[in-house]
Symmetry: C2
Subunit: 259 residues, 2 copies
Amino acid sequence: MGIKPHCGGGQDTLICHHLHGGRPTPFQSSAAFLGGPGEGSPCTPGLGWAGEGPGASGKNRHVCHAMARLEMGSLWEEFNRLGTEMIVTKAGRRMFPTFQVKLSGLDPLADYVLLMDFIPLDDKRYRYAFHSSSWLVAGRAEPAAPGRVHFHPDSPAKGAQWMRQIVSFDKLKLTNNLLDDNGHIILNSMHRYQPRFHVVFVDPRHDSERFAHQNFKSFSFPETQFMAVTAYQNHRITQLKIASNPFAKGFRDSDPEPW
Amino acid sequence: MGIKPHCGGGQDTLICHHLHGGRPTPFQSSAAFLGGPGEGSPCTPGLGWAGEGPGASGKNRHVCHAMARLEMGSLWEEFNRLGTEMIVTKAGRRMFPTFQVKLSGLDPLADYVLLMDFIPLDDKRYRYAFHSSSWLVAGRAEPAAPGRVHFHPDSPAKGAQWMRQIVSFDKLKLTNNLLDDNGHIILNSMHRYQPRFHVVFVDPRHDSERFAHQNFKSFSFPETQFMAVTAYQNHRITQLKIASNPFAKGFRDSDPEPW
DNA sequence: CGATTCACACCTAGGTGACAATCT
DNA sequence: AGATTGTCACCTAGGTGTGAATCG
């Protein structure tokens, strides 16, 4: 399973003003900032730092060859076959599996910011039917939580640095607290989400805001979609978490193959 | 006790080529890179990004007003009165107290790299006389270990970011392994050292190497000098470490005032 | 014999799901 | 009844000095 072009998530298109400034502080940022095509759109021919027209649909050459490979793909797929659930808590809970990617195709000498956001997969609210071990639609979605983004804490950094090793979003935490002021990602429990990953070229041009829509490339891995929950519903998900997450080793009975 | 101007440490003057590039990897860097006056030298009049002559002795305006206040000063002084000892191990050992400073006077919008190095305080080797509880000179110094530097892992970052909160060098580790390939600071046991702290302005000019000697400012806090040891010699140092380092709580008997 | 090394018990710091209590 | 919250035992990960063993 690979990368799916992502086209819009129903969120407003906003420019992120942190990308050319200092190290972004996650909770200063709110709202996802793009909905356009990521993967799959053509590079603007000959587009460099020189001329380009506003409104051009191509991507800046610094991002158009960027590629991201999802790490731990088989583990993600095993969860996905059961219907991945991610715990959300007031204090914030990490994701497991952790979202990790291996990057390539960046300009080693250019600066990039890496970030993630989470798109509602539909406008429904769910509940779990224990007797049939399946999810049922339980109504329309709650009002969408503030659309926050999570900047990778090493941002900004050079392309060479990002490509040197696996990029891990293990500091990212999910919360259901609408008033959270720790900069965590706010999600509605019992709603489905698609994690999204963005590579943003830090454009050194003065009027770089005008080209912001060309300076990023986005990746969505369908096998990483999940249901946000406050407690696990599917017992097989619980067992797979216990079996594969080192921090849950205390709940293992025997010693089957660790991941 | 305050800041002492530092003039040379007997090490060669080298230019650090990482300062304008990507995130520096500590163990890629070797050799301290300056010996000139830090604190106390005048700013070059009107010196900005514009004209200045090579060999000008003043400091770039981005660093000349930089100030660093040592944190936990009274703890450092308490150790210093007894004769601070720092453990060095093959695997690398953190310093305690941790070297921490509060910065001011930086340009909030400019990029800076922060780093530390360690200067031999003399060319002697010591040994501890337990009967008199004092240090004796035991000969001439061993050949100086490779003069590494430790970049603060958040480097480079904007002045505003550095000044926002206390800058802590808690990732810095000391080793006595001359073949260390973990990027740790290599010191000779039974030798005395003076930690040094450097603020380096990341000069965006093309030929910034020519001005490297103007783009940094250095700080030496005499109360942070120490003897490198493989095992504590002065029992009162051991007791003060146990009393003040949270990780050594297991060795406390009663519960006197924690630091 | 002084200096160094290593395994170890004991901490800090923080990530797990279980489970009882509580909320709506 | 379903969803959420808070506490807890049990982990991972790694920073302490100790004290015996070893090195030179």
